[in-house]
């Protein structure tokens, strides 16, 4: 066994630099500690003071988020946030990024991302009922990207499928910016009784800390600081950090933990999952939240390998582990529950009378630092952003010029961003638990809430194209677009979770993007009454110094109170009137059309009118609730004609539409728009409700999509378009 360097040797040889801690951070730690830290102590600091755990760069930005309204039961700060949905029930949700691990090891990286976010949900006491995955890749042109997509999708599917939580939705975006830095974000949604919310705290001197689940091994050691570091294609050493997911173990863990929160509430003080920075972060955070201290005996920790050092044990990110704080005298009662599921459950320490975080191994004290030193005393950096030159001097507007309606539509429908994603989501079990009313493939997913007469609508959205042009407007658009997805199903948006995927925050231009997009997100969440209840930060999405386009992912949950008013995007019958809600203008900068034609996006974005957005959404929701419309779809990638085509596919019912716009306008991505169809009997009522917000475009018809634009007409067979759209992605992934 190697001997660890002494505190004085550490001071001079600075091993912590490799773990992502800077010299001044080391000095800060030593000064606050009042002596030189030993190897274990400074190792724990490197994990706890990483961006992943301490949010040292993003904290000032996250503070600006709007996190409360009258429905929020628990906001950010715990494993996941909680919102009341009525009838005594609450929805719990959170999203997490696993971009780095998935880039290194796509299958296990994606799988353990799903495993991790599920633990966040049941740590609150909620039954996980749905998973969504938001993915972003380069265009699938080369074998590497195809393999990457295959493995990420396999990893997500194999985990969710085995554990028995349906993957009901998500998104898959393609843009050159993600070629070397894919995004793998997963969201989990749970449902629980309002009264049973569980927090991750370790209070009450003498109470037991019980370690539950998989044994600790040398996998993923110090993954938190690894995820908070920038990424180099040459750096093969990163490969040692691979963790393997065990969905079977996690299934047992979910069932056992939910049994504890349901039947042993009196014994349980707190529960938390072991995520980033493993044992140290779960235990220290639990102590921190209760303002207590604790002593742990590392010899008691279930270990998979011999001779693990305290550094390795505490910073291992072995999966499928949970930490419980249990009242003295109830240890056996709780351990018995886990034994019934064949799970390891061991008392590894106690809450102490002081505020120290003390670790023992082989009878020696290997760490003795104040809890606050690892939590509240982590540095916070107030970066100043600098506007990138390309934003200060935006390029001229993109003019698509004279396009051919039909050829353009066919190309857009086959672009992988718009192409039918069945090739991806059919690898996910979307129906297990038998609550899925609307699964993947439409806009938002809809699941029923057992024990109520309600349903939840779920969606994820991100769009780096807009944020690349204007992070603030783009941030607001992302929130608005997620809300539109929900509203089109008939749901009232309740709140959001997010994954903030950005580049290196120490670079002023990257920090600018982060801070500006937060402004947009805050404005939109206030306008749409959707507070942020949880989220996750993934910075350092850079490869060889090149950052991705700022790509916040918004996961949004909405509520449907009337199960008879669930709307779908498919046209239902011929002869109904088709309306667009919202204004169509020449919005081509940042559009899919621009990415397809020019290979990248440029130009200026039109500011988002949030009041108008809110008004349009309220109208659509009203119209659905009053049963006036028979189909509803939001207009997003590829614009109005793309939305019309998608609405035609379900039942082979197209539409004949006309407007005096230039042909390209049918692909414009003006915000705030929906398409609805209205049966003849409801036209008067609908028009009275909508007033000037709705413009009649034409009527539905069997089997054909026909368009009359200024100077150009198009007629296309719906079945042919559908086939192009349906087969494109499977073909491109081959």
């Amino acid at each position: 066994m190697q001997t660890e360097p002494t505190p004085t040797v550490i001071k001079t040889t600075k091993p912590y630099l490799e773990w992502g801690l800077t010299e001044s951070e080391y000095d800060r730690f030593a000064e606050k500690l009042g002596r030189l830290p030993n190897y274990t102590e400074i190792g724990l600091a490197s994990g706890m003071w990483s961006e992943h755990c301490a949010y040292k760069y993003s904290k000032p930005v996250l503070k600006t988020f709007w996190t409360k309204n009258d429905r929020v039961l628990m906001g950010p700060g715990e494993g996941a946030g909680v919102i009341a949905i009525g009838e005594g029930k609450a929805v719990v949700f959170k999203a997490e990024s696993h971009n780095h691990p998935s880039a290194v090891e796509p299958y296990q990286g994606a799988a353990t991302g799903v495993g991790g976010i599920i633990r966040d949900i049941f740590s609150i006491g909620a039954k996980p009922v749905a998973i969504l995955d938001a993915l972003a890749f380069g265009y699938p042109k080369d074998a590497h990207t195809k393999q990457l997509i295959d493995q990420v999708v396999a990893g997500i599917g194999d985990y969710g499928n085995a554990i028995g939580i349906p993957t009901v939705g998500g998104e898959t975006r393609f843009a050159p910016t993600y070629q070397n830095n894919p995004l793998v974000n997963a969201m989990c949604v749970g449902v629980m009784d309002e009264s049973a919310i569980q927090r991750g705290k370790a209070a009450g001197a003498g109470n037991a800390l019980i370690y539950v689940g998989a044994k600790t091994g040398r996998d993923g050691i110090n993954g938190a600081s690894f995820a908070s570091g920038d990424f180099s294609t040459a750096e093969d050493a990163n490969r040692s950090a691979v963790q393997v997911g065990d969905p079977f173990m996690e299934k047992l863990l979910v069932d056992a933990c939910l049994e504890v929160t349901r039947d042993h509430q009196a014994a349980l003080v707190g529960m938390q999952d072991m995520g980033a920075a493993g044992l140290v972060s779960s235990t220290v955070e639990m102590a921190g939240k209760a303002n207590s201290g604790m002593t742990l005996d590392l010899d008691l920790i279930p270990q998979r390998e011999p001779n693990m050092t305290p550094f390795e044990i505490m910073l291992s990110e072995s999966q499928e582990r949970m930490m419980l704080c249990v009242r003295t005298g109830h240890e056996a009662e709780i351990i018995k529950v886990f034994k019934q599921y064949d799970l390891d459950a061991v008392v590894i320490g106690r809450v102490s009378f002081d505020h120290q975080y003390k670790l023992l191994q082989h009878g020696q004290v290997v760490c003795d630092v104040p809890v606050s030193l690892l939590t509240d005393d982590a540095p916070v950096y107030h970066q100043v952003g600098v506007k990138p030159a390309r934003l200060a001097q935006p390029a001229a507007d993109f003019e698509p010029g004279a396009i051919d309606l039909k050829k353009t539509l066919e190309a857009v429908l086959q672009d992988p961003n718009v192409a039918d994603k069945t090739a991806i989501f059919r690898r996910y079990d979307a129906q297990v638990q038998t609550n899925t009313i609307v699964g993947p493939g439409g806009g938002a997913a809809v699941i029923r809430v057992r024990g109520t007469h309600r349903a939840l609508a779920l969606t994820t959205d991100s769009n780096g194209r807009y944020l690349a042009l204007d992070p603030e407007i783009g941030g607001a658009i992302t929130v608005a677009e997620a809300a539109r997805n929900l509203v089109a199903t008939g749901a009232e948006p309740l709140g959001i979770t997010d994954c903030l995927n950005y580049g290196d925050p120490t670079k002023p231009e990257q920090f600018y993007s982060l801070a500006e997009s937060a402004k947009g997100i805050v404005a939109a969440t206030k306008a749409l009454n959707t507070p942020v209840i949880s989220g996750n930060v993934s910075l350092y999405n850079e490869t060889d110094g090149e950052a991705i386009a700022p790509s916040p992912m918004i996961g949004m949950v909405g509520l449907i109170e009337d199960l008879t008013a669930i709307m779908s995007p498919s046209f239902k019958a011929a002869g109904e009137s088709v309306y667009v809600i919202g204004q169509t203008q020449a919005d081509f900068n940042g559009s899919l059309l621009q990415q397809m034609t020019q290979g990248e996006v440029s130009g200026r974005l039109r500011p988002l009118d949030l009041a108008q957005e809110q008004e349009n959404q309220a109208l659509v929701l009203q119209a659905i609730r009053q049963h006036l419309v028979s189909a509803a779809h939001d207009v997003s990638d590829g614009g109005l004609l793309t939305a019309l085509a998608e609405m035609s596919f379900g039942r082979n019912i197209g539409a004949a539409v006309a407007a005096a716009w230039a042909p390209a306008w049918w692909f414009s991505e003006s915000q705030g728009r929906f398409v609805v169809s209205v049966p003849a009997a409801n036209i008067a009522a609908f028009e009275a409700l909508a007033g000037p917000l709705a413009t009649r475009l034409g009527r539905t018809q069997p089997g054909e999509l026909t368009v009359q634009a200024a100077g150009q007409a198009m007629a296309a067979n719906v079945a042919t378009l559908k086939q192009l759209n349906k087969e494109a992605l499977a073909w491109q992934l081959k």
């Binding site: 296990q108 996998d219 390998e305 064949d342």
Partner: protein
């Protein structure tokens, strides 16, 4: 014609849930004298190649690219020439 025999197994320190489940089940059904279990994959390929070295180089490349996940798995193989009769 050459024949390659390829073994793929988990690297040390990588969790192997399969082996865990097999070992626990064996213990449960009375085979509790089994001390360790490891699970790997075994492939056989036959291929034509100009010579042994070329065959080995190709098999190595195929293992690295496809048969093993080099992030979590290690592999080793042997390549033998088959009789000319083929």
């Amino acid at each position: 014609m050459f024949k390659a025999e390829i073994y793929v197994s988990y690297k040390p320190s990588v969790l192997d849930p399969k082996a865990e489940v097999i070992k626990n089940t064996l213990a449960r059904i009375g085979d509790d004298n089994v001390a360790t279990v490891s699970v790997g994959k075994y492939f056989e390929l036959t291929l034509t190649a100009p010579d042994q070295a070329a065959a080995e180089a190709q098999v190595d490349r195929i293992c690295d690219a496809m048969l093993a996940n080099v992030n979590t798995e290690a592999y080793h193989f042997t390549v033998k020439a088959l009789e000319a009769a083929q």
